[in-house]
Subunit: 359 residues, 4 copies
């Protein structure tokens, strides 16, 4: 008896669902037309005043059983869905998002080296340029393993103004000279838009540090530069904020952006930061940009570098970044995390072992 | 021209809104009746299978412009709203939530002392019971300032099994003896449901520690106890989880629950935890339970105890908890955060100064 | 001139260093003897009063140039080092710490299956036992891939008391019956020490959930059980706290403990938690216990399960845990993260591909 | 018997302590002289190579019982203390640290208004300048309550490049015009060093946003500006990093810096961020700079603005910042957290009530 009644009632619900569906789509079509017209008039899609008025009208008309709060919440969802529809039609969706599973941005260097084409790349070198000898010894090791991208950091953003701030332009000269000797590309951090012309003389790939990830002034300026950009995730940036930061560069004209995950700040102090490897998987799913895993800053210690390199390789990332120094204990920064050169070779061996099996 | 067209289209949207409103409420009435019938049949409100079928039907009928994903998302909101409506009608909403601005739970002790009635209360004492002399000296100070609730902790949940785990039942005996001498109530941590009978002989208020906040087995057992419970927020519990943990106790039969905010675990290490004072304001807004601010575990240092006591007083909380010890440097736990007795008096002076102005 | 003077001064520093070295070791020997004597007297190593007196004496004798604060800080380091030395000599160091690079705990099951012996193991099954059919279909899939450990969860610790709390003992009966049919081991969560006798009838491996990681009462009780224990990391537990929680079990008598990393709570919400893969590497370095990676709760979404499974395999962990359900959208909990059965097969294929290359 | 032996041994320890004390201070004097000489030679205090050699020598000479690791750790502390001593003598210690309990930086404005002198100040206004009318209505309310500092934000750093980025210079013109009409000071965010000359024409106090807290390029440039700076804490910056960021400005020549705590990013989502009120107490203890509490961005919701304003007042902070807008629901940013003007008046009433009692 009551089971039959339930069947009847459910049929009524099904009927109402279909009417709701029709009305929602009908509404979407009308709102979409409004969107096109307002756009022609140069006004924004989003009209908070209008939404407030609609909500007030609904509230006054509502007789329940849904409460006014529920009705307003449901309609806010409808408004949001409609607005999403308009934005989607009016402009391309966010450019750094993947539109099909096989879409990928491949960074091509002058000699044909590619990053993001499925081959795993290594970016390496010391935390900072200190001397010619230090760079030369490191570069020789990199070149002997086929690494093409060398850290040549001459401007170091540091917590304290009394810490070593980098060698500046003389450091870039050293990096360039050594890179030329070994056929490497110089990757170097830029700290301000005003440095772009000078740095362009020495540097092949411009690096935006974690502290500048949301420096939109700098990001827009880098959108007008004709060099690849590595964008480092801020230490407490969400993946959504990270992708929007890349969007600042790409929407300003420069499509050659790589994302580098470098660990996020959490309560755990056994590692310097917490490598967000799940975030790497999400980025590879949602964006077509190459993703690099920084196993040095995320760990802050060299004794887990090899397992983390293997993790990076297995995660689907396009490459890894690892710091290496001829004599880490005397390094002027990040002494605890830079690899010795023999550790670097052991790490490369370990990745190459994995490569064979993935080939 | 196009402005007029926009006006027309907006009028259409208004009309559709009203039709949607009618349909939604009509749907709610039907679903509500289904809910009553299924309840009589003894089945659950929530029928995932049925929802899945409805979503599939909508997906098949959908011709856009809304995408299937959007339609499913919107209907899931409608389903959720309908279910919320049924639950609300069938049972009281979550009991610890405030239903009116002036609803408040007041904890009444045998001698008429109240907690949660608008008067600011202080809970104090050492981190752990160590000796009779230590408790006696502390209790004398508390009593001299009109404090009624004394920490008498005899079971200490510690990170390491090799750390001091508390004196156990002999500690409770000391606490009871001292409390009786000075007319105080004993507040003491319970670690397992099996301790309830024994502890009930000594303790006036049972304390659930941060590590046990989501020990639902213990919470349900405390719901059947006829003593007030202090529930401490877990170190990474959201406010929602905190309120649901209290709900376990209240829905099991014991309405006399106090919430204690003790700082959450964050990246910042200048303080032991981060006192979530905004969370205190939110709890006072959303729940009728008394809220206490633990200024000892949140700070982990005694040099900011007085400003934090003033903050607690100003936040609208019902009281504060502060640790005090006759000789903090030799305390067996939490040596850095317990106040010296003269600091305790200074803190009480400071709060009393504020009290005068709020009276 | 001044370079020579610097050389002289540096030689003086070298001389002082050696005198300091002698004195420090001489001090360590005396303190060590005190330690042995106080231990015979049954008193604690740590005497805060004595330390306070020594610091006061040093402060009074100090004539600079070091400030009193610096002197006290340096001596506190000396005190701490001396105490560490005593503790190390008096008792074995923390048992779960690795004492040599090749020390490992291997969990042996009755049929000879081992966990922790270098072979990568998979633990799988639905979030919770719901019906016989659900378990039967899942178990068949597990058995077909050689998986030996099946989730058979019948007690679910949930945020809300109104959420599904598990089937209880009837759920355990289903799990046991299905496990026997397919030759699997039942892994099931225990919520309170009082459940041990009953659960021991049905369950092969007892699981301690994240909310109970620091329930020392339960941990000690599990130390007296003759079954392997899986200990899940608390959602905001440090690695140090995690290892100490395992120490509670091991020091109470049960050496068969596995650690499971399940993601930590951070600000990032794209994943349900943040998988701490660096933490896995640290645990493998510092402990001899097997370490499992939970790729379901850490991600909270099934679309990145395969890359995370590969990451787990590459990290050096001893196994992974993944939830699988015949019909995830209708699951009574964790609907978004459980794999479909065909996804489970794809994940197993992916791991087996890696296995070949690591063999 | 063994108690007497313990007494003897303790006397030996006391003797060794005094010898260690002498040696440490003797060492400090020699190292200090080396420091002066190396400074004359223009080389750095810190010589990692030299430290490495000393540690190696100690390791080779060490015969225990202290392990090599312990010896190296202890000497690293000694090295660090010596270096701290040298740095302290060579240059002033970190300038933003308080050197005596009553040291305070007071910001003086042209009309004699002071911030940091013990009187509690309010900084208020809308999130962003939108129209003249909006600013005019807000400014009238501020002026009627004696508020002197008005938000006049014309450059908005936003997560998405497609969000409202501020009106730019026309917005500054509006802010200046309105401020002049009501006798207010304009506080406005600067995003890049290149904006300094232009903004100086309109703005009285330059504001550095959370995303730029560690933009050392900008901070150094602001150190050469003759206007007060408000420095906002980064959303995951430690207090130490925050103070060092201020040090960049102060050490570059501008002493007039205010610190603004705006909530840190944590797992809790009931509030937009977690107001670190304990951090405010620590900053007031450790620095002489004025500290402001931002109750809008920390909460992200206006319904707890009044308790948080009272908390800010009680914390010992020098002022608070609160957003107010004539019509929050239509605001172009931060719609949920800006106060209505009548709420602003209620908030001012509440603070004034507290003021009376603190006077």
């Amino acid at each position: 008896m009551s089971r039959e009644r339930i069947q009847d009632l459910r049929a009524q619900v099904d009927e109402i669902n279909m009417q709701l569906l029709d009305l929602l789509n009908q509404r979407a079509r009308v709102v979409s037309e409004i969107g096109k017209l307002t756009q022609q008039l140069g006004t924004s899609f989003y009209d908070a005043q209008r939404e407030a008025e609609m909500l007030t009208a609904l509230e006054m008309a509502n007789k329940g059983p849904f409460s006014n709060e529920t009705i307003k919440a449901l309609f806010r969802e409808v408004f949001r869905a409609s607005m999403a529809l308009e934005e989607q039609q009016a402009k391309a969706k966010i450019r750094v998002q993947r539109s099909s599973p096989d879409q990928r941005t491949v960074i091509r260097m002058p000699d044909g080296t590619e990053l993001g084409n499925g081959k795993f790349q290594v970016i390496s070198g010391p935390c900072a340029v200190e001397t010619f000898e230090q760079m030369d010894e490191t570069a020789a090791a990199l070149a002997s393993r086929g690494v093409k991208f060398m850290r040549g950091m001459a401007y170091k953003p540091r917590t304290s103004p009394y810490d070593f701030q980098g060698l500046g332009e003389p450091g870039l000269q050293i990096a360039r000279q050594v890179a030329n000797k070994y056929g490497l590309y110089v990757v170097s951090e830029i700290m301000d838009a005003s440095q772009i012309p000078m740095m362009s003389d020495y540097v092949d790939v411009l690096w935006v540090g974690a502290r500048n990830m949301q420096n939109s002034f700098l990001l827009k300026a880098l959108g007008r530069v004709n060099k690849p950009i590595i964008l480092k995730r801020g230490l407490a940036a969400t993946l959504e904020e990270f992708m929007y930061a890349a969007e600042y560069i790409v929407s300003s004209g420069n499509p050659n952006v790589m994302l580098i995950e470098r660990g996020i700040r959490t309560f755990e102090k056994a590692t310097r930061n917490t490598l967000d490897i799940g975030g790497v998987a999400v980025l590879k799913l949602e964006s077509h940009l190459p993703v690099i895993v920084d196993i040095s800053h995320s760990a802050g210690r060299r004794d887990i570098a090899i397992p983390l390199a293997r993790v990076a390789r297995a995660s689907g990332a396009d490459g890894l970044m690892v710091e290496v120094h001829p004599n880490p204990p005397v390094a002027m920064s990040d002494a605890k995390q830079q690899l010795y050169i023999d550790q670097f070779h052991a790490l490369m061996d370990s990745i190459e072992d994995m490569e064979k099996t993935f080939a």
